[in-house]
Amino acid sequence: MRVEEVMISMGSFPVVTQKTILKEALTEMGEANLGLVCIINEKQELLGLITDGDLRRKLLKVQKPFSAFFIDDALIHAKQNPITCRPEDNLKEVVQLMGEKQIWDLPVLEKDNQLVGLLHLHPAVKKMLEG
């Protein structure tokens, strides 16, 4: 079974461009009800991502007013070079990797680093259990 069989397709998970401010990125996350947002450039290459956990840690660290925090470019608060997978990767191996790294979501990239989907743990496990 391959990752592309179960990944969430583009348009169905939060993705914003590099000019997006943090407030807008968080709104996207909230509307999609997913704990992550991917940030891409004009070529749809993945530049970074922000997770609920990243945000929680930022909130404890950031010292500036919230109004200044919210208007920062989302990218400066993003995790860069995150772990990713390929559409053709073996689903079981990727799910094992997610377990080892304690990751709930994994961006799926084509070979040219273009973002093409998101592997979310729940549907992946469900699919595997279905056999």
């Binding site: 500036k64 007013p65 109004s67 208007i71 400066i76």
Partner: protein
């Protein structure tokens, strides 16, 4: 954050490049255009000082002061006469010129003549004004409203970018502290510079005490050199100061405008501090103390 360079000047005027580690530039002149002869006299006087100090400069004077405290105050010579005078200043001294505009319908004519257009501080959030400024395709001197935080100026920048103009210079002219009082937050410069755009310090409006004299504004001009040294040391790219040969008779901002007899002194200090700052950066590298804006 990559720092943008903004070039001011079209045609055969002496272009001024602003931003990055370029030499400090100056923008100044009388607050309001009073008449043709006075404008030419002031331009000649400032040119002489800037040439002596080797400071790139832009002539600033406005044709319509739309935010005066009193209806009886001098409002300006008007757009037609004003732009004619600015055009003559520009041609005579080959210096770029800038004026603000307070009505969106004035923007196109202002941009046709002026090398840069200025958005007044009180109007820095007005979408119609920003759209009109962007449409001139000239560089834009965007004043930070006295009621705005430096980080919220990014919203205005994003509007200008959305309207297709990314030639922006952000200027701090003080922030309201309670009533009739302005203060300068020196962290505004690194914060606004984080947008990537050059930053400017408007010294003569920063020492203003808005409407402190009932129907006109006062000012504490004695603080100009202190604040200029601080702002330059904090990394501004452009210094803005209104200047006049006879401040007590100035038709606008008489209590804040810098007497031109002090201009050389203040500009000399500004240039020296700017050069010293660049020398320090050459020696030590850019600021790297807790290197994050978090």
């Amino acid at each position: 954050m990559e720092q943008k360079i903004v070039t001011v000047g079209y045609g055969d005027v002496k272009q001024v490049q602003i931003g990055g580690t370029l030499p400090l530039a100056f923008v100044g002149g009388p607050c309001a255009i009073e008449n043709r002869d006075h404008a030419l006299f002031m331009a000649e006087s400032i040119a002489e000082i800037c040439e002596k100090l080797d400071i790139p400069w832009i002539y600033k004077s406005c044709y319509d002061k739309d935010c005066r405290s009193s209806p009886k105050s001098f409002h300006g010579v008007g757009i037609d006469e004003g732009l004619k005078i600015l055009s003559e200043v520009r041609e005579t001294f080959k210096v770029p010129v800038v004026s603000d505009f307070s009505d969106a319908s004035w923007a196109a004519a202002t941009g046709e003549v002026c090398d840069m257009v200025q958005v007044p501080a009180y109007l820095c959030r007005q979408t119609s004004i920003l759209r009109a400024a962007a449409a001139t395709e000239r560089p834009i001197l965007l004043k930070k409203g006295q009621f705005m935080s430096p980080w919220n100026m990014k919203n205005s920048c994003r509007k200008l970018e959305a309207f297709g103009n990314e030639q922006i210079i952000l200027a701090d002219r003080g922030t309201f502290m309670g009533y009739n009082m302005l203060v300068n937050d020196m962290t505004s410069f690194p914060i606004m510079r984080y947008t990537g755009y050059p930053v400017c310090y408007d010294a003569t409006h920063s020492i203003q005490l808005p409407t402190s004299m009932g129907n006109i504004s006062g000012g504490q001009r004695e603080f100009i050199p202190y604040l200029v040294r601080s702002a330059v040391a904090n990394g501004i790219n452009l210094l803005f100061m209104e200047t006049h040969d006879n401040p007590s008779k100035a038709l606008s901002d008489a209590n804040t405008v810098l007497d031109i007899k002090y201009l050389e002194n203040v500009l000399y200090q500004a240039k020296k501090v700017h050069e010293m700052r660049l020398e320090l950066f050459n020696e030590l590298g850019p600021d790297n103390v807790h290197p994050t804006i978090e």
